[in-house]
Symmetry: C2
Subunit: 185 residues, 2 copies
């Protein structure tokens, strides 16, 4: 399939997801909005969850371009600011929150694949930090990402509180410097 056509299908999928929610999303609706024949869509993605899973990984709206600011602290703050934008600014927030909310009930959405893909891209941040000596030898990158991404999710989505301007700086400082009285922060 031509990349442009594929992108139109994915964009239509995510637009409908944000507009109507996962339950009301249909391949027929995607066909109508994208102008691509329904049979063609089914040939490539045999089911709604398969189509949505592919759209989430490939879509421009959710693309992760790992930051490279020159320091681990700067990279992690930029990463958290990106997560905040993703979860609080339309249209990405409507797409991501709808997709992640639906994923909780629909294992077939394989949202783990979406997270695994992002983590693979984030890896270079930690590779550089290890090379530059900015990361403790015992540090576990996935735990760091889960702490930071999870904090944004809990604050913005579960608590429904505004994510204040200093949030990324404070969250990253907690994880890099520590909040214990013996830590450097």
């Amino acid at each position: 399939m031509a990349p442009r056509k594929q992108r139109e299908i994915f964009d239509a999928t995510l637009t409908l997801l944000a507009r109507r929610g996962y339950e009301s999303l249909t391949i027929e609706g995607v066909a109508e909005l994208s102008g691509v024949n329904k049979t063609t869509i089914y040939r490539w993605w045999p089911s709604k969850p398969a189509l949505l899973a592919a759209a989430l990984v490939e879509a421009d709206a959710l693309a992760l371009d790992p930051p490279d600011t020159g320091s681990l602290r700067g990279d992690l703050e930029a990463l958290v600011d990106g997560m905040i934008a993703l979860l609080t600014r339309p249209p990405s927030s409507e797409i991501v929150v709808a997709a992640l909310g639906a994923a909780v009930h629909h294992a077939e959405l394989n949202i783990g694949g979406f997270f695994a893909d992002r983590f693979a891209r984030e890896q270079e941040i930690f590779d550089r930090a290890r090379a530059s000596g900015e990361l403790a030898a015992t540090a576990d990158p996935m735990t760091i990402v889960d702490l930071l991404a999870g904090a944004v999710w809990v604050r913005a989505v579960f608590r429904g509180l505004p994510v204040e301007p200093g949030f990324a700086r404070r969250a990253v400082s907690a994880v890099l410097d520590g909040v214990g009285s013996g830590a450097t922060g």
Copy 2:
């Protein structure tokens, strides 16, 4: 309403939520399972979200008894272990994951109230740690809780990965000691 009767209503609400999901939860169903007249339930909780919000805050299955282990590190590890149990062990995991998943789409569920209630109870952990000098003066308790709770949620629910035995220790160490090379961890 007698506390025992109220508890039966809440238990029935959460049982049905876990069994059928939020969309299929009805006050009629709660009345049937609890044996309490539907009119009585409506008199106390005028809507399904109002009933569920109350059930989530009051239910025994989700009760938070803040740990008091003698150290901030021990308290936070126990808190994280409690969150892991809540999100991975039935029946609480079925209830909490269904409720939090639904809350994403249904603001009327006021899941923020559930989190605010838990945070109020967690406050004593941080009060003790400040008094004992275990917490850096600049540390922000809500950020700490959001990092830790969020990490469990991302790992267990979004990534769908097993939460390995050392997870609580490692996550708490990251936040208390820091993972930067200049930190104490």
